[in-house]
């Protein structure tokens, strides 16, 4: 569920930002999307990509942990 929400938030936020740009600057949708992701230098894009991937990995790890906890019965905490 966490991964799903991560992807959903990502997509929705992205569409909001692209939508705003479309409204303001009268480009088309796709043009704005391309513009947004390509205007940066390579090293900086790497940092962004890394951040996104880290977030994704963490979301997957959290989901796996939750599934495992649900599988085993809860141990009573001391």
């Amino acid at each position: 569920m966490v991964t799903f929400s991560f992807l959903a938030v990502f997509m929705l936020l992205g569409s909001l930002v692209i939508f705003i740009d479309t409204l303001l600057f009268h480009y088309s949708f796709m043009e704005t999307a391309m513009n947004m992701f390509y205007f940066q230098l390579t090293e900086d894009k790497l940092i962004l990509a890394l951040m996104g991937i880290c977030g994704m990995i963490w979301a997957i790890v959290v989901d796996v942990r939750r599934k495992r906890k649900k599988g085993n019965p809860e141990q009573p905490h001391s």
């Binding site: 990502f10 940092i47 996104g52 977030g55």
Partner: protein
Amino acid sequence: MEKENLSLTQLLALEFIFLLGSAIIMGVGTELRQNSWIAIAIATVLGTGIMYLFYTLNELLPNHNLFEIMEYGFTRPVAIFISVFYIIYFLYISSRLNRDFVELIATAILPLTPIEVISLTVMLVIIYIVYLGVEVLARVSEIFFPYLLGFIFLLIVFLFASGRIKLQNAQPMLGDGFMPVIKGIFPGLITFPFGELIVFTVILSSVTHLKKAKKVVLLGVVMAGFSLTFATVIMLMSLGADTMEFSIFPLLSAARKISIANFIERTDALVVFIMLLGILVKSSLFFYAGLKGLEYIFRIPYRDFTFPIGMTVACFTVWVSANFAEHEEEGLVFVTRYLHPPMQFGIPFLLLGIILWKTKKRQKANKKSTAV
């Protein structure tokens, strides 16, 4: 999902830093030139009314945050649908605030560092604080609250001591009549910074004594508004209307003019600290509100969401706009006119109406059952 407790002092500190944080650096109402402080003063009065509205929402249903109130007012599916909008709204505003801060740092303090790095570092701090809980955020703001006040006060004292304050910069007052002031308030000043108090509907449910909180909450708005007015007056008198209107960070420009005995100069660090604090608190609160929304929809504790959604916000801090001009324009044109009013006023008014109606219905039903 355990209960977290905020004390009243912490609430006051949170509110003050929240309202003051980014407004004092970015400068509100600067396009109104000499009338800016009048506009802010009037907006403060209106702001107390707005805060009272949000407080009433929480008072009617104690221990419910915004999303649970929506569930009570509408049904759960409708509430989930609206919550999606609120989550995206909160996270978007959080990204924009981060972008403000990143712009300040990249312009004035660390010009050679790529903005992704600054965005990543500040977001890591916000993630850490929100992961620890809203209690920790409240305690941090409580600790730093006197320092914030002190630094602002210090800046003002230094400005006076440098002899930069010129009273004629504040004139002419209301030169074009009252209409520009009204135009500036609706929708500009009402939504930023006072309308953003909607975030407090999410955390007011965690306050220990909700009844006593009414005075504290309104006092916070008044204090912050007064400080903002005062600071704007000082900035106006030291910079002059033209510089203030066209400068990106008026407080920074004012601080750069301080020069006392050739020793105390270049007090940029103080301004950066003020802004860091304000943005941290504000952005953390919006981020926390967004996470609470996700918790409400998925019924998973919000701590699990912190890091992935945080990384998303960090990415979008960069993507929100390509340069500062676009950022400003988006803020002034789109966000203020089309994004803030429905989210901050439209839906809450509707919600309040429905809840009042439902409470009256329930009261009538109770009277009927007891009468029989």
